[in-house]
């Protein structure tokens, strides 16, 4: 499976944020999306998630005629969970309304185990969860939904080092069946976790070859590219 983007354009009035983006993302890989502040990373994700109408171009999955709502999952940097529900109720609701779509349905507790949410926290209101726990729940719901494309907008920044490592391992585990696009400002994280690095610079996507030639440091190469040098 591939996510193919062809001539994608998005303008805000006269400002061209995404200019004619064409790129192919492949299943089984984690893509690190790097870009400077205001480069349009969130706009790019919002377009793929159809939160924003695009001004031109198209994108599609190679094994599907039409992208459906369950095909794309979007994890935002700020966790969003319905605060009046407990963790367990939130998962139950999601499973209830998506029963037909979920493959290999597990018990709710098994799902909690997956992201290591303690037993005593599972029946607490989500409004009393910490930022990191809310983020885990958000990630978990997207994992349960098992979308083919997973968009992650700086999802690890709020986690402590232990949880961040767990989440990285989780992403590595699930990448085989997914296309994961991971936006971050932390270059070390991108280089450590991601299989491919993509730069969003001046409205276009550029692929950066991670395989370094001897004596050519990757970090400097990326920074120079982002600076436009």
């Amino acid at each position: 499976m591939q996510l193919v983007i062809e001539h994608l354009k998005k303008n805000f009035e006269k400002k061209e944020v995404l200019k004619d983006i064409s790129f192919t993302f492949e299943q089984g890989k984690i893509y690190g999306l790097l870009g400077r502040n205001g480069a349009g990373k969130t706009t790019f994700f919002n377009c793929l998630n159809e939160d924003l109408e695009v001004d031109g171009g198209r994108f599609y999955l190679t094994d599907k005629e039409k992208i459906e709502d369950c095909d794309i999952g979007y994890v935002l940097s700020t966790p969003n969970v319905p605060e009046f529900l407990t963790g367990r109720e939130f998962l139950k609701f999601f499973i209830d309304i998506n029963q037909n779509r979920i493959k290999d349905l597990k018990s709710i507790d098994e799902y909690f185990e997956l992201v290591q949410i303690n037993e005593e926290d599972r029946d607490r209101l989500l409004k009393d969860y910490s930022h990191g726990m809310k983020n885990k729940m958000q990630m978990l719901v997207n994992i349960i939904m098992n979308p083919q494309v997973l968009l992650l907008d700086e999802p690890l920044t709020s986690f402590d080092v232990v949880v961040a490592e767990e989440m990285k391992n989780l992403l590595r585990d699930i990448k085989k069946d997914h296309i994961i696009i991971f936006s971050t400002h932390i270059m070390e994280l991108a280089l450590d976790l991601c299989d491919e690095i993509v730069l969003l610079n001046k409205g276009v996507l550029e692929y950066v070859d991670k395989r370094q030639k001897k004596g050519e440091p990757l970090k400097e190469k990326i920074i120079e590219a982002l600076k436009g040098e």
């Binding site: 939160d51 709502d69 369950c70 009046f84």
Partner: protein
Amino acid sequence: MIKSFVISFRLKNAYRINSIIYSLKQLPFIKKILPNRLYQNKGIKIFGNIINILLEILNIFLGKFLYIWLMIFSLLGIYEGNSPDIFLHLFFFLTLAGAILNTYMFNPTKDKYYAMILMNMDAREYTLSNYFYAMIKTIVGFLPFTVLFGYLAGVPIWLSFVLPIFVCAVKMIMAAYNLRVYSKERKVINENNPPRSYWIFVGLFLLCAYGLPFLKITLPSVVVVIFFFLAILVGLLAFKSIWKFSYYRKVYKELLLNSPVYMTSENLKNQVVRENTLKQIEYDERFTSTKSGFAFFHDLFVKRHRKILTLAIKKQSIVLIFLFLFFVVVLLLNKGIHQQVNTILLTYLPYFVFIMYLLNRGQTVTQAMFMNCDHSMLTYRIYRTPKVILGIFKERLKTLITLNLIPASILGIALPVLLYITGGTDNPLNYLVLFISILAMSIFFSVHYLVMYYLLQPYNAMTEMKSSTYSIVQGLTYFVCYFMIDLQLPTMTFGLAISVFCILYSVISLFIAYRFAPKTFKLRV
């Protein structure tokens, strides 16, 4: 200091104009015509400045005119006695009460927040220059009306000229006193949330102002005049201490940043709205649900928001029952008013549109729906599928209609009963029309708020209100309902018309919501 004043004035103008442009850019259709570069447009800035100056002039004079006219001059007729004495008596005590609640200096406003906190302007220079400008505005604003209404009331003209200076002096004394409180106790008085003792004084002054003349007691003019001049003398000393005070930055940091009642930036305001709506969530282990899917989700929402849903409706219903019983007793004891009440019930049904507007919980509930539920759920693409959106919409509609129908039914039964007690009507259909129209209005408001919410979903992911259209619709709803207060129409005619309208509106708007909500119900980007 003059430079500081000019900078702060320009700053105030700039953000007011930008706010106007921003609001215009939120309007449907218009936002497509107006480009972003409008913010740079000199013509618009000049136009905005002219509007600002006009608003400033209005602000200087209008309030003072209304104040003296409504709170003093128009009341002279109800008291017996010498007009000039009563005029001066009222003016004196109201000024004392006003000085406590309206110091200007201790009012946490956006202007001050932007200038002193965000722009880091010199707090003393900013405060003093703007404070003296405010005092000059007070004198200039009061003068024409103290002279005009003073003349009409028979107050000597020279004294009418002294009155605005007295107002200024008392305000300065109060400001100096509050600064002294800060110097001694490190306590900042917020004029929007004054201490209890201040309220006691305000109450006392108001009582003296309006109560004493009823007992034919007024302060003799000579005494008032002596107080005026004393106050002006003390005011000069107050001016000196205001001038010398050197902790304005500390005072305003405390006032503008830590005040629980003051919210300046949108983020902070949203944060408070958000915190308040989060407080509405009530967790009790007994509140679980045996349902599944949308029904489960919604059932828990209702159970965890009892405060604003079931409990609020219960309170409303109890109050309505008590009011109903009270009116029944009054009518049984006093047959003399039967005719009047009967006429009211047969001609004032439009008034109940406004009452139903006030009773309906739709606005509060849709806000909680967004803040505590949809705000997060709409970020999940799966929640935005037509099946989920319409499934939850249906559950919500059922709950809103059912809950709002409870107090509506009480009112719907109470009105025909009161009509019967007061002598009834020749046409028995009036009883039925009263009942049905109240229920129809209740359904109308439930549908209206929910449909508007689904069609215009006005908030973005940061829980900021981003739709002027939504605000306009809310405002129009209020305006139309308020307008109904003055309408007098036969209950039969109006009742039938409003019932048909409510039913048609509900059917059509539900059809539109079903058709378009899956497209419109999303977070604003």
